[in-house]
């Protein structure tokens, strides 16, 4: 039932299509005789109890004719769809079979044809083949083909470029086998899904042709032809046009809704279901910690279905301090950053005992205060800058919106900040679009954007992961410099423990949504206590790692955010784990000065 509720349109479409199919099978059998019965005494009548939709010029019952015409209408549409699909798929596969020059010609032809409205192609074909059902079917088939060809081409090109096809080619798998084993199975599904929509289109196209008098000719009739006959009479008896019009509309809607739903179902990846058990009630907020710019207490991020990627996380960052938040993919580190920045996407729920900036509750801060005090830097600087706007304008915006600066003043400040992050010719650069900058320059621009206000907290989420090492080095240096100049507290999120160790003052290690260890960065190598932190460091090949000894590695994998049990989440992968670790979760407790560890086995 849940499926049905989420797919009302799809279910409605399926129902309509089912009715249409039943009608096509039974219609002529049940009403065939009534539809052909000529009644000279009831010519061109409107609605009456005997003829709910009236009669035609030979006194035949229009309701019966509409019900009977369903089969012919659907069969014609089916024929046109099949012609179009087969021709399209053949035309679409040609480029991958033909030599390069011919392939380009085929592609070009398809591209040119796709741009032409189907009805125009259909009319052209109808002129050449003559009026009638045959011409219309061929015409609509011809009109459908280019779309199918384009789809086939796009899909086939995507698959042909896939790594697994390259791998098969290198293994000497013959071309034909690659086509049948790799390409066709992977493009069949979207192509078949497209059939439902193409069918709907064919049905409407044929109805249109018949309605114009260019399609089915008497004595044959389809819905479009019935509408053609009924249309001139709508001034006197509008109901005679109602039947065929409703039939055409219903069929079009049915197939379209069904096609939509099928496409959506194919595109949807498995979706989390069920309701959240609800995050635990956070503890009391307590007094603000003196001297901390950022203070997070018991931060939990939960999604429906018991998915809890961040669990009761607490941390503080002092002014001018860079705290590294390190963990592997799925540890919850990026969601932690998003939660602190107020950017957790729906339907995620964030709860916390305290989330304070400069000792003030973040919820109590105005947008203006937050917008100027908080700076964020993301992984991909190209994605983080708006491609449609000039760099300078994007920077100036903060000053305009939050500080009421005039355009000239805001612009002047933007140029100044671009200079502050050591971008050459900042004035010229401000007038450029992001795509004209290199990766490193873009990341500098994003950092400069953070400097437009008076940043108290900088959240940098994997800011150098997308960059080359030489550029990474420069950006890290710049971050350090900015922190020293502004005295901002900085939360630096990274998967790379070496980068974190190098840049940060303090390191917070996350595993499966929780902090497992917190220690001064300088003591990572010598003083790490948690088995996970140690294993992470031992797994990392460095420039002086002994090449004759295997790297440590960690067996198994991190549990998903819905699969964390009652005990220590790391226990299943831990060499030191005891029975207690499996059942009882260790709290984060003080270990050495400045160090806290959550592990039963660390004494």
């Amino acid at each position: 039932m849940g499926w049905l509720r989420r797919n009302v349109p799809g279910a409605a479409g399926a129902l309509i299509v089912a009715i249409m199919v039943v009608l096509a099978v039974t219609g002529p059998i049940v009403w065939g005789e009534a539809a052909d019965r000529i009644d000279a005494g009831a010519i061109l009548q409107g609605s009456s109890p005997g003829h709910p939709l009236g009669t035609d010029n030979l006194g035949r019952d229009l309701l019966a004719r509409v019900l009977v015409a369903g089969r012919f209408s659907l069969l014609l549409a089916l024929a046109a769809t099949l012609i179009g699909a087969v021709a399209g798929v053949v035309l679409g596969t040609l480029p991958s079979v033909l030599p390069a020059r011919a392939a380009r010609l085929a592609t070009g032809t398809v591209n040119a044809l796709v741009a032409f409205p189907g009805l125009l192609l259909a009319m052209f074909t109808a002129v050449v083949t003559g009026l009638g059902a045959r011409g219309a079917v061929l015409g609509i088939g011809a009109a459908i083909a280019p779309g199918f060809a384009r789809l086939t081409q796009t899909l086939a090109a995507r698959i042909a470029g896939a790594d697994y096809v390259s791998a098969a080619r290198m293994l000497g798998v013959p071309r034909r086998r690659i086509l049948t084993r790799h390409v066709l199975p992977n493009i069949a599904e979207p192509l078949i899904l497209n059939l439902a929509q193409a069918f709907g289109g064919a049905l409407l196209g044929l109805a249109g042709m018949s309605f114009l008098g260019l399609g089915v000719q008497p004595p044959q009739y389809d819905w479009g032809r019935l509408l053609f006959d009924g249309f001139p009479r709508i001034y006197v008896t509008p109901e005679v046009a109602l039947g065929p019009a409703a039939a055409i509309a219903l069929a079009g809607i049915g197939f379209n809704l069904l096609g939509d739903a099928l496409a959506k179902a194919a595109a949807r990846t498995s979706e989390a279901r069920g309701q959240a058990a609800g995050p635990p009630a956070p503890g009391p907020a307590g007094e603000p910690e003196p001297g901390a710019v950022l203070e997070v207490r018991d931060l939990t991020v939960a999604f429906p279905g018991g998915v809890t990627p961040v669990r009761e996380l607490s941390l503080t960052v002092a002014p001018g301090e860079i705290v590294g938040l390190v963990g592997e993919s799925g540890s919850g580190k990026s969601l932690t950053a998003a939660a602190i920045g107020g950017l957790v996407p729906y339907p995620g729920r964030v709860t916390h005992a305290a989330l304070r900036l400069d000792g003030e509750d973040v919820a109590a801060l105005t947008d203006r205060e937050l917008g100027t005090r908080l700076a964020m830097v993301f992984q991909d600087p190209l994605a983080a800058l708006n491609p449609a706007l000039k760099v300078g304008g994007q920077l100036a915006e903060v000053a305009v919106v939050h500080e009421g600066a005039g355009r000239a003043e805001a612009r002047r400040r933007a140029v100044d900040r671009l200079g502050q992050v050591h971008l050459p010719e900042p004035a010229a650069l401000a007038a450029r679009h992001p795509h004209e900058l290199s990766g490193g320059m873009r990341q500098r621009a994003v950092i400069a954007m953070g400097l437009m206000g008076t940043p108290r907290l900088i959240i940098a989420d994997e800011p150098t992961t997308a960059l080359d090492v030489t550029v990474q080095r420069q950006i890290l240096r710049l971050l350090r410099e900015v922190v020293e100049e502004t005295g901002a507290a900085t939360l630096f999120i990274s998967h790379d423990i070496a980068v974190v160790g190098e840049l940060c003052d303090r390191v917070v290690v996350m595993y499966a949504g929780r902090v497992v260890e917190e220690l001064p960065a300088g003591r990572l190598v010598t003083g790490a206590a948690h088995p996970y932190t140690k294993a992470l460091i031992a797994s990392l090949p460095e420039l002086d790692t002994d090449r004759d000894r295997p790297l440590a590695g960690i067996p198994g994998s991190q549990p998903g955010p819905a699969q964390v049990g009652a005990g220590c989440a790391f226990a299943p992968r831990c060499a030191l784990a005891t029975e207690r670790c499996e059942t009882e979760r260790p709290e984060l407790v003080a270990h050495d000065p400045g160090q806290r560890v959550a592990c039963w086995e660390v004494k």
Partner: protein
């Protein structure tokens, strides 16, 4: 195996510019470079996947392992079918064992595997082709460190066991140094330095190699 005067051009852009490189039998040559240096184009050219000029001699059978473990396996084929495509069905169990994967994974589909497991399947598939040369293009850059370690160990183990000849490509100098006997440094389509791994890392001759080395993040000991 010798790559001689190999160039790859895309239109007016020269991705690989006249590269000559020898890969001695039974050795691992590590190729390091930043994005856009042409290292992946070189890999694809060696495998015959992109048009190129120049010659590649001495390795008639080349296989490749790709960077993205999520895109390199056909989603509609089981592990067994994937491996059997090159090696034949009889070899599947042996190859799975070789890459330290349990035999019961044979019936699974890629979506049921972790990233590290997928990468092992891709390695098994490549080994099934009985290659004289195995090209590994950034095979650990999509993996977590703890998983990367296991794959690197596997690569080193395979070299010992099978005497595999290999071109190992990565942007990460430390990773390359760990698995390779010879390190080649690529910059803007050209090879700027080639030498024994310890020598290139210990006494870099080229300015660019030195810059690259200086940029590698290190843990403070």
């Amino acid at each position: 195996m010798i790559i001689k005067n190999l160039s790859v051009r895309f239109g007016r852009f020269t991705a690989v510019d006249d590269v000559t490189l020898e890969i001695p039998d039974g050795q691992v040559v590590g190729l390091v470079g930043e994005s856009g240096s042409g290292k992946s184009s070189l890999a694809r050219a060696v495998c015959g996947l992109v048009p190129h000029t120049g010659s590649v001699t001495g390795a008639p059978r080349t296989q490749m392992v790709f960077q993205d473990p999520y895109a390199s396996l056909d989603p509609r084929m089981t592990v067994a079918a994937t491996i059997a495509e090159g090696a034949g069905a009889g070899e599947v169990a042996r190859l799975l064992d070789l890459v330290r994967l349990p035999a019961e994974l044979a019936g699974r589909y890629p979506r049921e595997l972790s990233g590290g497991q997928r990468q092992r399947v891709a390695i098994a598939r490549a080994l099934g082709g009985n290659p004289e040369l195995l090209v590994a293009d950034e095979i650990t850059s999509a993996l977590d460190v703890s998983v990367q370690a296991a794959v690197l160990n596997l690569i080193r183990g395979l070299r010992e066991e099978l005497g595999l000849t290999m071109l190992f490509i990565s942007h990460n100098l430390a990773v390359v140094r760990y698995v390779a006997d010879v390190v080649a440094v690529m910059h803007r389509g050209r090879l700027v330095e080639v030498g024994p791994a310890e020598q290139v890392v210990g006494e870099p001759a080229h300015e660019y190699t030195r810059a690259l080395l200086a940029a590698v993040p290190r843990l403070r000991r």
